[in-house]
Symmetry: C2
Subunit: 417 residues, 2 copies
């Protein structure tokens, strides 16, 4: 019998944890990702706000999987999957055959039919995104210092974040302290403390995936920090230098997008029999496979998954657990065993609001908020960064940031020639 070939597309949480399940098994595994590194996405906002360096939260995929001798890693873009011929087609035309496919290609930003907004309001999914946001927000203060008139100065000191989910809340929560403490003594012509940070959310409240009491807590914390929180506020247009809400025009040089996700196009390309939702996410079977193709699994942000009728949230744990479950179902199938349904275990969900504050929802009505939650968040994230060798480095950076209000990676880079 030939060794079964397993192809994993995407090395985010879903793909990486799926790959790890194949360690020491009689399989031949190929992991493909466009990027050479796995990113610890929950801390991406800290790279975007110059607190952590990219290498603190990202590590080469092939290095993370180096001890799995049955696993190879390719840096490549997948153009499409051909379920009938069981091959994935790469950008250079190379075809990779598989016996089992785990599709973990995740999501990018969605601009609700306005792709032209992307150039003005970048989103935050990758290290490159984070570097670009970092460049923009640091440059805004530099431009404000250079400004020769008040209007230009104000535009540069106005920061709009669109979207009140965890990413928006976490980004917005970092900026006030940076403006009011970190940067203040470094500028001569401007008072960085006058910076306006505006968080816009279309729905009735922030953090819709969190319980209402915690969301209220977070909103209160943000307001105390000085963030202008506006809910039920639909952005009608994003222009260079301004965000419009109906007739109102907020002039701002820095606009960040944390509002919408669109699943990877690979989901829609699986064929007419594989149903997708409006956002392009694949409606998977209970065992995470897709209709008519028991050899194809979809996990993480690219999949619509349910447990006990409740949909699985688009968080790291959802991706990790579904990635593992899909891999185990592959291994069971190889051994001729049956496939159990995927059951998501809610380990809780957290978000930080600046220094000192956080909220956490651990199910069964266990809600935590404020200072103790923040310490718990810190502990959890240091724990989860294991596997990365960067843990010590992150501790050094956080210790530094905490005690000095300093930023460890305040660099404006643009790299590409």
């Amino acid at each position: 019998m030939n060794t079964p070939r397993v192809l994993i597309i995407g090395a985010g949480f879903g793909g990486l944890y799926a790959a790890r399940e194949f360690r020491d098994t009689l399989t031949s595994v190929t992991v493909i990702d466009r990027s050479n590194h796995h990113t610890f996405q929950p801390l991406l906002y800290q790279v975007a706000t110059a607190t952590l360096a990219p290498s603190d939260i990202a590590a080469p995929i092939r290095w993370l999987l180096r001890k799995q001798r049955n696993t190879e890693v390719l840096m490549a873009s997948v153009e499409r999957v051909d379920p009938e011929r069981r091959v994935a087609v790469l950008d250079d035309g190379t075809e990779l055959p598989y016996d089992y496919l785990i599709l973990a290609a995740g999501a990018r930003h969605s601009y609700f039919g306005h792709p032209e907004w992307e150039a003005v309001a970048p989103g935050l999914k990758s290290i490159d995104d984070a570097l670009e946001i970092r460049r923009r927000f640091l440059t805004a203060f530099e431009e404000a210092e250079r400004a020769t008139n008040e209007a230009d100065r104000t535009a540069n000191l106005t920061f709009v974040i669109i979207g009140g989910g965890p990413t928006g809340v976490e980004l917005a929560g970092m900026l006030p302290t940076i403006a009011r403490h970190t940067l203040r003594g470094d500028f001569r012509r401007i008072d960085t403390a006058t910076a306006r940070i505006i968080l816009l959310e279309g729905g009735p409240r922030l953090l819709p995936t969190f319980p209402e009491d915690l969301a209220e807590h977070a909103e209160r914390d943000l307001r105390e920090l000085g963030v202008e929180v506006r809910t039920k506020t639909l952005v009608t247009s994003v222009e260079p230098d301004a965000v419009c809400i109906g007739d109102e025009r907020i002039v701002a040089r820095t606009v960040l997008w944390a509002a919408g996700n669109a699943a990877s196009p690979l989901g829609r390309l699986l064929g007419p029999k594989v149903p997708v939702d409006r956002g392009g996410r694949v409606l998977v079977n209970a065992d995470l496979s897709v209709p008519d193709h028991p050899e194809i699994f979809v996990v993480g942000d690219l999949a619509v998954m349910t447990t006990n009728g409740k949909s699985v949230p688009g968080v790291a744990q959802g991706a990790i657990q579904s990635g593992r479950a899909a891999a185990r179902n592959v291994l069971r199938t190889i051994r001729g065993e049956g496939r159990p349904d995927f059951r998501y275990r809610n380990k809780g969900d957290m978000a930080t609001i600046g220094r000192y504050k956080a909220i956490g929802d651990f199910g069964h009505g266990v809600h935590v908020a404020g200072y103790p939650a923040w310490w718990f968040w810190l502990f959890l994230h240091i724990l989860y960064l294991a596997g990365f060798r960067n843990r010590l480095s992150v501790l050094v950076e956080w210790g530094y940031a905490f005690f000095t209000y300093g930023l460890g990676a305040r660099l404006i880079t643009r790299q590409q020639r």
Copy 2:
């Protein structure tokens, strides 16, 4: 009397150390740089080779000068200086008047009349350059792993470094260990140890600014590491995917440029009375000012300076010492005192060759090489990184790299949209 306005253009070693001399003086100082950060250039090759993170060796200029209340920092490009009207003109047309000007704008690469080579063979002067070189050399191994034919694989595993000065030698010295140790276990289809590293130098020997015995030592060390060193080898053309030496064609996907410097164009723009050499460097007076303009000083890589008839080398110490000397001459002039001639004190010059090996020339015939020199280099650089808060972080990275052969920042980024 009005407070004298001092303008410093460039915040490399020359500009930064000049600025620091004005601390607690009755002057009004403006420091202008295109970038928001000062870069510790001697360690740039370690960012290019993924050993250190950019934030380990770079820090915001305004943060480094935050305690000098008489000093402001602007991130801007200077288009030209008008010595008659005593103003510097920024890219947006803003004019900055000065009473004293210290020009420390440094150098970029020179491609000897072939600007088209730059896209193929990037040089190493800035953090962005280092990130681009890092992207290319890491991508080459990724592409080799994906290669579907032997020619493509070989092209990706051939690295050519043009220029045998310190930058070329230091870059070339890092690659063999990375190829033979760090990366080897992470790839499945290629043997990274087969990578060819070729160092080309047009002159008769490597490291022309070092004494001959040390240069020979370095060449021997490089050959032992497996670097193909070729001196008296003039590159006749650089093409995408190949370097030509007369009729010989070396097929290589990664070509790095460490061969030539061209001074900032600002030197030539000082007017017809200010003499420049072929490379655009300004021939300064003994007190570092320029002819006819005692209020303009040029320091660092942009200046041709001599001490006792010997030219001052283009190293960090040359820039630091001339920057300080120019600042002191400004202060003496303000106080109505005379200006002593600039005298360069040779504190020695070092270069590393991979792990464990280095050479050092400390004048008066004091030459060191090999293992002890490497330890001394390490000690010196940790010492000089003071002022940066990154010292601890660099120690952690180096400790990690040394004991595990690992790389701390093995990320492929491209950032700019």
